[in-house]
Amino acid sequence: MARVSIAVGLCKGCELCIPFCPHDSLTMSRHLNEHGLPTVYFKEDHPCSGCKYCAVMCPEAAIEIFK
């Protein structure tokens, strides 16, 4: 099982990573980052297959994936 790490300071909350996750494991957070921008978070209780779709779509290179 893989897991995703999101650099909150780089995320702009564009949501491009969300619809492509086959496990619905990413969602918007209610927290704003230090730039006042909305951000996404990885739902720790959801699976992650490490498919990288989210990282491939991220315009900010905010997503890294670990196994």
Binding site: A2, A7, G9, L10, K12, G13, C14, E15, L16, I18, P19, F20, H35, L37, G50, K52, Y53, A55, V56, M57, C58, P59, E60, A61, I63, E64, I65, F66, K67
Partner: protein
């Protein structure tokens, strides 16, 4: 823990000036991944355009030079001819390449300059607040075509790949999109092929990337991807229009899927 994906070393990971969901960020990351994978970071020289990606050099840890609006192919020509062992690419928007820079790109291709061109087609002038570009779709609303692009007044969209495919000097021409993980991966493959074309001294390569500008398309980033898939690819079909390794070289371009 083992990293399955980490950001490329060539990418400077700092908050960018791009709007949320802008395709430039995806294209920059792909470029950085390719430069890492080909191991050419120390000898790659990039040309930044005028447009939203005017600051591209803030995000790529390589030598870069700024060109006047539309002129990156001319500067790249000079740099490549003086430093033939360096890898030289231009990164240009559709206003930069297909409007003010049309002469430079056509002649660089016709001279078979051994450079790689990354052409970000977002069908709009992003930087200057969303005016009509030569690539704006028919009926598309922009700040200068508030009722939509009308061909009788504003002309028709220009298809750069098809246009350049008529030139003998162009060796690799492809159009890809950033609208899904699969398309982004295909864009990366096409960009890599462009660099390979130059490394193997096969001449001029250009990769046209259909890229979202959610802000001036006035839609959400996710809706922008749908717009590319459903609308933009109707006017700009994806495919390889010229490939020195294969026999895809029909002038005017019978598009073949990448």
């Amino acid at each position: 823990m083992q990293a399955l994906y980490s950001a490329p070393e060539t990418l400077i990971r700092t908050p960018s000036h791009y709007c949320p969901g802008c395709g430039h960020g995806i294209a920059h990351r792909l470029l950085a991944e390719i430069i890492d994978e080909l191991g050419i970071r120390g000898k790659t020289i990039g040309l930044a355009p005028v447009g939203c990606s005017v600051l591209a050099y803030n995000y790529l840890d390589i030598d870069m030079c700024e060109a006047a609006h539309g002129r990156p192919p001319a500067i790249a020509t000079g740099i490549k001819r003086v430093h033939p062992d360096n890898i030289v690419f231009t990164y240009q928007g559709d206003g930069d390449l297909a409007a003010i820079g049309m002469a430079e790109i056509v002649h660089a291709a016709s001279r078979a300059e051994n450079i790689t061109v990354i052409f970000i087609n977002n069908a709009i002038y992003g930087m200057t607040n969303g005016q009509l570009a030569p690539t704006t779709l028919l009926n598309q609303r922009t700040t200068t075509t508030p009722e939509g692009r009308d061909p009788l007044t504003h002309g028709y969209p220009i298809r750069i790949c098809e246009l350049l495919a008529t030139l003998e000097g162009a060796s690799f021409l492809a159009r890809t999109s950033l609208s899904s993980p699969k398309d982004v991966s295909q864009t990366k493959e096409a960009l890599k092929k462009g660099f390979k074309t130059q490394i193997e001294k096969k001449g001029f390569s250009l990769i046209e990337v259909l890229s979202p500008c959610p802000v001036y398309w006035r839609m959400s980033p996710v809706e922008s991807l749908k717009f590319i898939e459903e609308k933009m690819t109707q006017t700009f079909p994806l495919g390889v229009f010229k490939d020195w390794e294969k026999t895809v070289s029909a002038p005017g371009g019978q598009a073949t899927k990448v």
